[in-house]
Symmetry: D3
Subunit: 242 residues, 6 copies
Amino acid sequence: MRLLVVNSNTSDSVTARIATTARDAARPGTEVAAVSAPFGLPLIVSRADWLVAGPATLAALAAAKGSYDAAVVACFGDPGVEAAKELFDVPVVGISEAAFHAAAMLGRRFGVVSFTAALRPMFEECLARNGLASRCSGFRMGPAFAGDPGRVAEERREMIVALCRAAVEEDGAEVVILGGGPLAGLAPAIAPSVAVPLVDGTVAAVRMAEALVGLAPPGQPRPRRARGLTGFEPGLTALFAG
Amino acid sequence: MRLLVVNSNTSDSVTARIATTARDAARPGTEVAAVSAPFGLPLIVSRADWLVAGPATLAALAAAKGSYDAAVVACFGDPGVEAAKELFDVPVVGISEAAFHAAAMLGRRFGVVSFTAALRPMFEECLARNGLASRCSGFRMGPAFAGDPGRVAEERREMIVALCRAAVEEDGAEVVILGGGPLAGLAPAIAPSVAVPLVDGTVAAVRMAEALVGLAPPGQPRPRRARGLTGFEPGLTALFAG
Amino acid sequence: MRLLVVNSNTSDSVTARIATTARDAARPGTEVAAVSAPFGLPLIVSRADWLVAGPATLAALAAAKGSYDAAVVACFGDPGVEAAKELFDVPVVGISEAAFHAAAMLGRRFGVVSFTAALRPMFEECLARNGLASRCSGFRMGPAFAGDPGRVAEERREMIVALCRAAVEEDGAEVVILGGGPLAGLAPAIAPSVAVPLVDGTVAAVRMAEALVGLAPPGQPRPRRARGLTGFEPGLTALFAG
Amino acid sequence: MRLLVVNSNTSDSVTARIATTARDAARPGTEVAAVSAPFGLPLIVSRADWLVAGPATLAALAAAKGSYDAAVVACFGDPGVEAAKELFDVPVVGISEAAFHAAAMLGRRFGVVSFTAALRPMFEECLARNGLASRCSGFRMGPAFAGDPGRVAEERREMIVALCRAAVEEDGAEVVILGGGPLAGLAPAIAPSVAVPLVDGTVAAVRMAEALVGLAPPGQPRPRRARGLTGFEPGLTALFAG
Amino acid sequence: MRLLVVNSNTSDSVTARIATTARDAARPGTEVAAVSAPFGLPLIVSRADWLVAGPATLAALAAAKGSYDAAVVACFGDPGVEAAKELFDVPVVGISEAAFHAAAMLGRRFGVVSFTAALRPMFEECLARNGLASRCSGFRMGPAFAGDPGRVAEERREMIVALCRAAVEEDGAEVVILGGGPLAGLAPAIAPSVAVPLVDGTVAAVRMAEALVGLAPPGQPRPRRARGLTGFEPGLTALFAG
Amino acid sequence: MRLLVVNSNTSDSVTARIATTARDAARPGTEVAAVSAPFGLPLIVSRADWLVAGPATLAALAAAKGSYDAAVVACFGDPGVEAAKELFDVPVVGISEAAFHAAAMLGRRFGVVSFTAALRPMFEECLARNGLASRCSGFRMGPAFAGDPGRVAEERREMIVALCRAAVEEDGAEVVILGGGPLAGLAPAIAPSVAVPLVDGTVAAVRMAEALVGLAPPGQPRPRRARGLTGFEPGLTALFAG
């Protein structure tokens, strides 16, 4: 199968890193293509960022339409993902929903660990939106971080391990989700120091996307009304035109 | 005070109708300006529509920045409103959140009535997102409607009155929200036939926006990071640039 | 318009302070009258206090019936407010419900800050009763306080600022409600030290009451059954008599 | 043990009926005394009624203080019960909370059946306030009833049986609560026609009150502050005086 | 009445201790018999333990069928209790559900205190399953404990008192449940040091079981289908055979 | 990979049917083995059935330990699945949890359709236990069914299609789960008549199990305490022995 991975921001270096993680996670026979958002922002932090990243994500999906059997949106908060599920006839999975659902199948209670308290509101809202708050044993986040996100996984590695252990021992987590892009790839490195499975969102999303292809008969074709979208680039406009 | 009313879709006839309702609802001394979204869709129905209407709403708000003391986003579902609260230093209120909050202060339990079941999922999600589901006594919607939305308030007037009465008598509603753009302006006409207050979203939003101006000291200025947004028109790009 | 502010306890000095805050918050053209409860308790702390303050609040509202277009009940916990909404044909707004609804329109997540942990249960129950718990980012309360409530805003000012900052930085609050009568009037003084809007219940209630006057057509007159109330003073008895 | 049953309204004929049910439900060795509210209303229907019935209930409890080991408040909605738990050193149980808790121990899912839809909002709010909504399989209520409440149990007996059966067969109720004063005493009569246990609130409250006497060591004496209550009769004033 | 107390594990020394507590809690006229599970595990800790303890509990109940009017399952987490409510025609009450319901009738908010954080997940899940999470003011647990459970009530007595006080003073608990088998019997000893009632699960369950006998008319006999259970001992097989 | 499918009841004919569905759903390279429960009941209907089916499911998993990389428990209600997640080092997925999680990734709101109202309580409880109730648009069940379950998919096919359409058109379902063993295999047959994807639990569980193998690094080995289980067959006893 052909899997498209969309990075919802415009930073190609991040896209390259995500592509590597996705290819490592994919099964033999899955071809992974990865693209950056064709427009938008270099980094997604706030709700406003999330909003403009949504059409950018849809545009990336529209541009490659027909070339993939499933797609992963690799940006915590899953911008554009609910809209994409309406607009595309193939499964589109966000990395945060995939992390929550996979964790919930690996254990009864999952903890969420990340390197900075600043991400907590976004994670909490995303969890609530997905409906799985009752499965979460709690959040464990580091203090404010002002350094280079690209190095935080290294600089705060000891702290992340300690937060994971607190999630397990004090909160009763049976699975831990490592949240936030900068921690991608950290799970295998620290797994020997933590007593429960560690879930990475990109890995989870690749696996869930593979699983959903062909899982459900799609039903009768949904009629699409032609809609006159203006102000966006041609691919997105064509998508709304039906 | 100066109030900007943004219609999140591109239909100027709808904008004109909303402007009339808003001006009627405003207090003396409130100047109302109304604008359509500068781009986007002529009608907002789905989650995908909602998503692209968000940046369009932000663009309308950005274009007039500095010319208003508060803004109302007049589109059920409140596209772009949460992002706008982050980006602008004046109150921005959506018509659905305003309807829910005003109704909750007018009575303990509010019902939601609209002319077609097709709107129910959007209303339910919007209510849940606002956190007020426990205050709602239930939804009462008419059957599928394939006619002209501009005439539904007239054609289904008897049905709407019957739905309002069922909300009161069977569900225990103490206030009823008339939901959906096509029912704007209907409240005063049918009020004599219904035993509880009837809330119109646009009216509620105008009043709430007026109330919020100056209600809370804004606190120290929030630092804005300059962000390089691409792919949108200049006003929105300037807004993200800080 | 004419606004009646009812202090649900019998302490006239508190009533005077509330009246000042209410007058400052009111729009030009709003005439503010303030009254103490005609009987009851000098201070409302417990659920039992809340219960006896309810009829006292209704009696104050009944005594002035016809002389106001809207009323504010200025006592955290909103004693008698739900009953008043049933009994009076004008809007009656409590300061806690107003604070919650206004904060929810100013930002996605609001924190609640007060000077003593002893108030937390009452605040939590009031929040839950209003249905907005999912919008609250958390409570930040000071330790037990045994001093003069009239001086706590001064004595614990630094602490309150620190609690507000923790609400913003650690809990992700985008708005902060300053709860509890003794903190009334503190918001403008500490606003320059806090990065988000600060909501005061009395101010919020005055603004919401103004907004609700005429917002919704009242519907057909509700039939009132004459009820033979005994054991209360004549005004309240007359109110139940229809 | 000595059990006081308080009817929160002033109708002595209702008190007599409740007393009979309570005596039948009590264990040997339990002495049951029953009193009407010393003031207030002849019937409790609305939230305003509930509010004024609260101090009346407290006054009844205060007047007999020292003469009972536990008390039952026999009025659906449990007026004054939360305040009474604060003010008295003996268990005070409301008939609605008792019905919910007893039903929840008799089966996983309980239905609530009553003779008129008009009671549904009050029942739903009371259930939510007690926190047990997730245990309820649903409400089944008859249509509006304009006849003599004293005869509804007889006139609508067939309907009540049908509603109980629907609760069991369609909603999966494993226990059914018969709600509303006019249905008191109906349970044994219709039990042979229904396949699950039927809970009557007064019976449940008598049993729960008996069970709570001495169940928990009371802890160190709670300090009571002397409070200057005015405007109520002497017994209630004395109660607040500590 | 005759009450059977089932210890869901196979440790007779624990059964003896539970029997003493139950006899002390029972009313005059209640005959208490206590039995261990006839098979299973010596200690119940995990969800897997809970699962195998369920049939063992049913087997104990089946073996004594006809010799008791109500039963208590004395194992936190209430293994087998929901199934027992289906299978037996007499009330069967678990100690955790009884503690939650009794505490909820003794006060508005109950805290849960135990000696080790390791029990928190099980307690939280049990509380959620019973539907009463909104009544809980919070958990206060000691740190990990590696010593002899039989001595923890003595060794950590000071800590337990401190946790109870924190539950009252910081969380607003009005009742405290002492959770976990090893704390059985501690309540009377520390009550003089705590300002609110202390609930012990075994005591609560005995009282609730007594109260439920005869509380609700059982309804028409439920038809039982004969079921061919294999792999369990004869008493349980006979129970499923109808 | 090697996948074990456990039918939690003892009916080999059902096991054979499940095995066929599972093999059809599996990817190339997945070897599917299917076994019946080694003891227990021929059909799982009630909570008591569910309870005894739990150890039987664990016994089946224990007997084949080491011969599979992941397991599916094919019985609605997922008996033993939470315990199995604790006891085994490979992913174990229940068909109901898999259906809920897969449906939640295919669309925002999923409906649940089955042939008889008798299954609704079990489905609702299972959904609540999994935490995903807020994602469900509602249940649509046929009336009581007394015929041969093996033929219900054929006999009620028109009804099931109508229920699916009502779920989509009236409740706003974007995905429909066909619940209950007797409907297995129906999805592809009726898909052309329904406008949204149709999820079958067994298919979903096979796909989810495949996806979870290797998804998360397992962390450091969990220490297992040797536990002396009695009264069960040797395989289960050995499992608890560590």
